[in-house]
């Protein structure tokens, strides 16, 4: 362990990590509530239960550090600083959405906060993030890039191709594998003999490590260490965070009873809720009142975001043919 890894996480940061996780959780719970109304006509991939990874990873990045995500990206959108009103408006397909209603839940973006884009094609933005890191290195602008993907993405060839290139060019990139145990309904152990995913690209020279993805302070600390090291020229690294998908692959429901799940998982998750664990830690320090205030503020923010989405206009019909190409100057 290096000094930076053991360096304490300050109280303010812990509170902020808690706030980010709660904001993700409550936002997605609101999405579940709204979903039956059919006002959100976009497939949703929830990250409830996985909030610690999004919060810890994003909090360790600067706003100018670029991040690339997947179709399960409500969490990183919120944690990287994306506007909540624009998120709900995007889910509603409104003109005020973060992608002006063209992207939906699977294609979130907040480039002003460094979240460049999210893709529904598994692993497809791993090489794109790698190219962004190449640009950071060529221009020596001090940015770090993060490719954020699930355990399914390491099945794809471009993961290995990208890892090889990043190592070859010593790029300032952190590959974050959010291992929630399932790629759709397929378990890691049914897809890989070597199920220590962080070791998969070791032969290419990509250093990796695995950490508890339900311990938000731990995620933050390990990510901060990786980001600082790669910013200083330490080269790429792969961090695997083990967590757990509470909900079905896509949609608002749960499917604990289905055969693909490991038995006893719902009990296990309840005991390993990253938000409950962090709340207990902060309560032990006597922060009850602060936690209550955070919940109130987050709920109010979500209320405002939903009102914004509901009252925003849909894109006018002529927007259909706009945006295919940027107009040549």
């Amino acid at each position: 362990m290096t000094a930076t890894n053991t360096r304490a996480v300050g109280r303010d940061v812990e509170v902020e990590l808690y706030r980010l996780m709660l904001k993700i959780r409550l936002s997605e719970q609101r999405i579940i509530e709204i979903y039956p109304t059919d006002k959100i006509q976009s497939p949703i991939h929830l990250s409830i239960g996985q909030e610690a990874v999004a919060a810890g990873v994003c909090r360790a990045l600067r706003s100018s550090d670029h991040l690339y995500g997947t179709y399960r990206s409500h969490g990183i959108y919120i944690a990287k600083g994306g506007d909540l009103g624009q998120l709900f408006a995007e889910l509603y397909g409104k003109d005020t959405g973060c992608a002006r209603g063209k992207g939906g839940s699977m294609h979130l973006t907040a480039p002003e906060h460094g979240l460049m884009g999210c893709s529904a094609i598994v692993a497809s933005l791993i090489p794109v993030a790698t190219g962004d890191a190449l640009a950071a290195r060529m221009r020596r602008d001090g940015r770090v890039v993060c490719a954020y993907f699930g355990d399914g993405a390491v099945d794809e060839g471009v993961f290995f191709e990208s890892a090889n290139f990043a190592v070859l060019k010593d790029l300032p990139i952190v590959y974050v594998c959010e291992n929630n145990r399932y790629a759709v309904h397929s378990r890691v152990v049914d897809r890989h003999k070597q199920d220590k995913l962080y070791r998969l690209a070791e032969g290419l020279g990509l250093r990796g490590s695995r950490h508890d993805g339900n311990d938000v302070a731990g995620v933050f600390k390990t990510m901060r260490r990786a980001v600082e090291a790669t910013r200083l020229g330490g080269g790429p690294v792969l961090l695997e965070y083990t967590t757990y998908r509470w909900h079905e692959h896509v949609g608002p429901g749960t499917d604990y009873e289905e055969a693909y799940r490991f038995p006893g998982e719902s009990r296990e998750t309840a005991q390993n809720d990253p938000i409950t664990k962090m709340a207990a830690r902060l309560q032990r320090r006597g922060l009850h009142r602060e936690l209550a205030a955070i919940a109130t503020a987050v709920r109010a923010e979500i209320d405002r975001a939903v009102v914004f989405a509901e009252t925003s206009p849909f894109p006018p019909p002529e927007r259909l043919t706009a945006d295919l190409f940027e107009v040549v100057a």
Partner: protein, 343 residues
């Protein structure tokens, strides 16, 4: 003006763009080796450094993504494929990522990516080193497709592509590389979406792409001996396509033959034929004809390979047939092949 070959004109455009814009860089398999992609990247390493001209691992998928990411971050990558066939490995990145980005995120970002892909064709290149992929890329919205024929266009379209904020792919035909022509000095960008009138005529319109323009020009010479006046239109870019130039010519001649370097089925030739059928039907005095690669896998054996592609003679024959005529028993000699190989 100066006289340059098609390949030299590409080199000239690359050097010009790199000199004037430090964000331009060139990547691809072999761009820094002694052969320098048929000379098009020759000397660029010495001039601009290894960071801006570099070889890549043989990972077409990820390397296309790398180029996209660098473009998103503000650089202007030029990714070179010495054979277009390898683009199949990059289709996810090209079509799911590059072509989508601007639109999918509401027009907030652009991907100023340039892909150069060389069509290998002929001299025994066979099934996997000869393909011409423009039709596939035309089908999916979001990526521009250019097919230079002349040195002025190989230089000018590349410069326009580099200046364009959108993803652009240029298909460079290997058999055009040694053709010499006048090019502007200093280099000038050639705007997309403007077809070139390669030859004026009155009896039929031949819309031809890339190397098929050269074959069609030879065909027009043969046709002239048969008192047939062929007009030749080169679309220059397929996306965007200069509809009006094609429609104007068809309105004038009343007959259309489309000759493309790719297969005809669902191809560039089908799109151009559909354009004329939909918007110039009343001008047409005969059914539209199309020519392209035979609907089979490209063979290596010389006689089979010769039969696989249209050439000046077969194009002239098709044009005569379109006019209800034939060579009347006097078939012209097979054209000599200038290219002797090896590649």
């Amino acid at each position: 003006m100066k006289r340059l070959s098609f390949g030299q004109a590409i080199h000239s455009a690359l050097a010009h763009a790199m000199e004037n814009d430090p964000s331009v860089f060139v990547m691809g398999i072999g761009v820094d080796d002694h052969k320098a992609v048929f000379g098009t990247t020759k000397g660029l390493v010495a001039r601009f450094g290894r960071e801006r001209v570099f070889d890549t691992p043989i990972s077409e998928g990820a390397m296309t993504g790398v180029a996209i990411g660098a473009a998103l971050a503000g650089l202007k990558p030029i990714h070179v494929h010495i054979r277009a066939d390898f683009l199949y490995l990059a289709m996810d990145q090209l079509l799911n990522v590059a072509a989508k980005w601007h639109s999918m995120f509401g027009g907030r970002m652009s991907v100023p990516l340039v892909i150069r892909a060389i069509i290998g064709r002929s001299w025994g290149q066979g099934a996997q080193h000869s393909q011409s992929l423009q039709s596939l890329l035309m089908h999916v919205p979001g990526i521009k497709v250019a097919m230079p024929t002349t040195p002025a266009d190989s230089q000018g379209l590349l410069l326009a592509a580099i200046a364009d904020p959108n993803p652009v792919i240029l298909f460079e035909h290997r058999l055009l590389y040694d053709i010499v022509g006048d090019v502007p000095d200093p280099p000038v960008a050639v705007p997309f979406g403007r077809a070139a009138l390669r030859r004026e005529g009155s009896d039929l319109t031949i819309v031809a792409t890339s190397h098929m323009v050269i074959e069609s020009l030879s065909a027009a010479e043969i046709l002239e001996q048969h008192d047939v006046s062929a007009e030749i239109i080169d679309p220059v870019t397929l996306v965007p396509l200069d509809d009006e130039a094609i429609l104007r010519s068809v309105a004038k001649t009343g007959r259309l033959l489309v000759v493309d370097t790719s297969w005809t089925r669902c191809g560039a030739s089908a799109e151009i034929a559909a354009l004329a059928a939909e918007r110039a039907f009343s001008s047409l005095r005969a059914p539209i004809r199309r020519m392209g690669m035979q609907p089979v896998v490209c063979p290596v054996s010389k006689p089979l390979e010769r039969a696989f592609y249209p050439n000046a003679t077969t194009i002239a024959g098709e044009a005569l047939s379109l006019l209800g005529r034939s060579f009347a028993g006097v078939s012209p000699a097979e054209p000599a092949e200038a290219f002797k190989g090896p590649f």
